[in-house]
Symmetry: C2
Subunit: 334 residues, 2 copies
């Protein structure tokens, strides 16, 4: 690793984070069940059973934003990592790292949102832990949730199943969450009524699991859509070509990004699914997503034999490489 100290970019979902996780964490902690290429791990329990396990930490600033708060996000985020792994979430654990001085009334709003999100996903919080850190050593509250689920459909998913010709789809507009959080930060001096897309993607993944030819699903969180397609390209050794005009991006996201110099392709979603399906299944996948309340779902690209690269075909027909994210575009969005 090129660095001797941790920087914010080590948490952004891009190259530095990947290097930190594979080069330090996985190097020390590696074992047959730790696969840093997946959203959730499948591990055996007993002689025949299997569970699916995932975890995420939440440090979003501000703690409350249009469309959610750190409590709802902490449930949706972990539910979604199980969902895109093809699992049904059953149980969550909850860690709270609370900063001395946090208002109980605010904590209560987070817990109410957490409870509503858990009920919606039919998931139960079965164990927790509570730590209080001194004033000035936190920022209100950090949560961590670990999710345990089971796979019901015997369908095998994974980047290893992707073939040239497969189509890439998104379940809705990208970049809403990152932009909504950014707008909620006073530092940007902007106002807008864009809400985060933060939500459970279980209805979407359940619908997609019914589509034959489904290869792979992922929630494009830190690093956004570009990071997911970059990972697909490098895992498969193929070219992933996205058509910019086909990628749904809301107007306020587009204009905030233009104003501040961000690229919506790299901004986090917290309620979207990127899926890869066999070419003959693309229309069925689109229909499945539309049937569960995703009118803006779209086929946005294609996997092609060639070099391992992610390419954006622009509105004007030009091609732009989607490089791996380096600098942190926007820290603390989840």
């Amino acid at each position: 690793m090129e660095f001797s100290h941790i920087s914010l970019a080590h948490g952004n979902g891009g190259r530095f984070m990947r290097e930190l996780i594979t080069g330090l964490f996985a190097r020390h902690l590696g074992n047959p069940w730790l696969d840093t290429d997946v959203d959730a791990a499948r591990v055996p329990i007993g002689d025949h059973g299997e569970i699916v396990v995932t975890t995420d930490g939440f440090t979003v600033q501000p703690l409350e934003f249009p469309g959610g708060n750190i409590g709802s996000l902490a449930v949706h985020g972990t539910v979604n990592d199980l969902a895109v792994a093809g699992a049904r979430p059953l149980y969550l654990t909850l860690n709270a790292f609370i900063e001395e001085g946090l208002e109980l009334a605010q904590l209560e709003r987070f817990l109410a949102a957490m409870s509503a999100a858990a009920t919606e996903a039919a998931v139960h919080i079965v164990a927790g832990d509570t730590k209080v850190v001194p004033r000035g050593q936190g920022s209100g509250v950090y949560f961590a949730t670990t999710g345990i689920g089971v796979r019901e459909h015997g369908i095998e998913l994974g980047m290893g199943r992707i073939l040239p010709g497969d189509r890439v789809l998104v379940s809705g507009p990208v970049g809403d969450h990152g932009t909504a959080v950014m707008l909620a930060r006073e530092e940007f001096g902007l106002r807008g009524d864009l809400a985060s897309d933060a939500a459970s993607v279980l209805p979407v993944t359940q619908a997609l699991l019914g589509v034959p030819g489904l290869r792979f699903m992922r929630d494009p969180t830190r690093g956004g859509l570009a990071t997911v397609v970059h990972e697909i390209a490098h895992a498969t050794g193929a070219t992933v070509r996205l058509q910019e005009p086909d990628i749904p991006v809301r107007d306020p996201v587009r204009s905030v990004c233009e104003m501040l110099g961000y690229d919506p392709m790299y901004l986090a979603c917290e309620g979207r699914v990127v899926s890869v399906v066999a070419p003959e299944s693309a229309d069925a996948a689109l229909a499945a997503m539309r049937s569960v309340g995703c009118p803006e779902a779209a086929i946005v690209g294609e996997v092609a034999a060639g070099r391992a690269q992610a390419v954006l075909v622009t509105e004007l027909g030009g091609e732009r490489l989607l490089e791996e994210l380096e600098d942190d575009p926007l820290p603390r969005i989840c």
Copy 2:
């Protein structure tokens, strides 16, 4: 609740923490599987199976101390909550909340210690998450670990099984961890060569699980031995009477406590087991613990019909009530 804002005492293992957990967290998040009286939750998986789940967060200061560091502690702590629930730990998840500026070399020491602790307990880290928080909003690193295990012995344990006449045992001297961490803090201006007792208690719990008449086990972490016996008294409605002369306390722990006005009964252990066994099994339990490298294990008290109270019979024969912990004796020890 009497407070409108979170204070350090909400994280100390005592009354305020209990009220926060039951009065706020469990009130919002409650469901059939969340039992705030247990170290780990037993939850069904599939039609016949069951797993045991627990979680803990770690914020210890300093991050390194004689006998361990925040990495080893993050594994031992969660392994131990599964162990005292009678389970064999299988898998862990890991959350890292790293403060910008942490030295990679130090992080690497934590991961090496974590890896050694995981190997010793035969537990695998199967999923993780990495967040970086800005300088001044953390303290080096916070970890959270969630543990998943299975029960092998069909033995039912719980405070509900405790009967009058049962004996209370500890597996070794109490207060070492709290004192070692305190000595490692420069603010106290004390030096000493006391090491934390932080360790896996799996050998102890495995040995105790072979003793017929075992009723209950718990690791006396935040709030120490006094907090465990106080909980037993209030859960059973019985009097728990501890004999002070029988409770192993190391000399340096005793003298540091006298100097600084702490009570070793309330100081955290991170590698001890408090157990309750039927009277006729007490000697067998003692022998079982001694056979696995706990020469200082001791029978320290007895459960008696009477009012719900925890009582310490002092060296001079007087009786002192062990009240529920209120003010934080020593923040950030785990």
